[in-house]
Symmetry: C2
Subunit: 172 residues, 2 copies
């Protein structure tokens, strides 16, 4: 039973048109950078496309390897610099528990990233639930802590991967 009945879809369907995801992410990034006067160079655009290669967060060295295979060899600093730019523009998020990066579906508005990360298929879904945000703010407020940055990463199994005996693996 892989269905999720009335659950709101946050994980992309297995058969979705992922090229569309990539294209719209790149389009959104172009517009956003143009508006901000930030330079989305060919290099940065390639790295962004590779981060969006999958809904599973991509490691810097995986991106590096793919750049090589694609005929655009680069050294680590090049990739990390591009990632730093994309992070600064809010176009991607870093997943601390995986040392990896994932595309942001809503780069126009600044927000902390709250993620559900499936250990079956590897996909990360960004949720940004108001209730989580509110609970966190209240909890920190109670003790006088000023939050500057949040790392909220929930690992487990997405609806599709439950009951299929999955756990390891890394679906692309």
């Amino acid at each position: 039973m892989a269905g999720k009945s009335n659950a709101r879809a946050v994980f992309a369907a297995a058969d979705h048109d992922h090229d569309h995801c990539i294209d719209s992410a790149l389009d959104a990034a172009s517009g956003l950078c143009a508006r901000r006067g930030a330079r989305l160079t060919a290099q940065r655009r390639r790295v962004l496309a590779l981060v969006w290669r999958s809904h599973a967060p991509q490691g810097a060295y995986a991106i590096l390897a793919t750049l090589h295979r694609d005929g655009h060899p680069a050294a680590p600093p090049t990739v990390y610099r591009a990632l730093d730019f994309l992070l600064a523009q809010g176009l991607i998020h870093r997943i601390e528990s995986l040392n990896a990066f994932v595309g942001c579906p809503t780069p126009d508005t600044p927000h902390p990233g709250h993620f559900l990360i499936c250990d079956g298929c590897g996909a990360a879904a960004e949720v940004n639930d108001r209730r989580i945000g509110a609970a966190i703010r209240r909890s920190a407020g109670d003790v006088g802590f000023r939050i500057e940055r949040q790392t909220i990463e929930l690992r487990g199994l997405c609806p599709e991967c439950q009951g299929t005996g999955q756990e390891p693996a890394h679906g692309d």
Copy 2:
């Protein structure tokens, strides 16, 4: 203004008796391991003591270096194995955003760790707020996601470090 008025204290006071923290953590660990039939060897005990050296999370290589200085030289696998044991027993938590480890103040009951981490003094306070837990469970439940593990790390400034122009540094 470093006061926190009516805020519940979750960060240890600057002048607290930290040796007491260490001693009670070691005592708790001894009891807990004895009850469970787990072997808290001298090596593991030393590593636990070094994790508790400060309320600031300690990196594996910092622990390694201190072991050397203390006349108990070790190689990385030794330290990582001890840390793995301590994690498995719930005696410490890993802070993903720092690649570091911090002692658990309540190792008797299993729980996800929710942390406030001060970028001023470096201290990490474990909170485990019921509201955060509830919000997370509801949010994940809504979309049919099964949570296996949580990484909740809130970075910012503790009450003591606010208004003191702090930000970097790493108070011990």
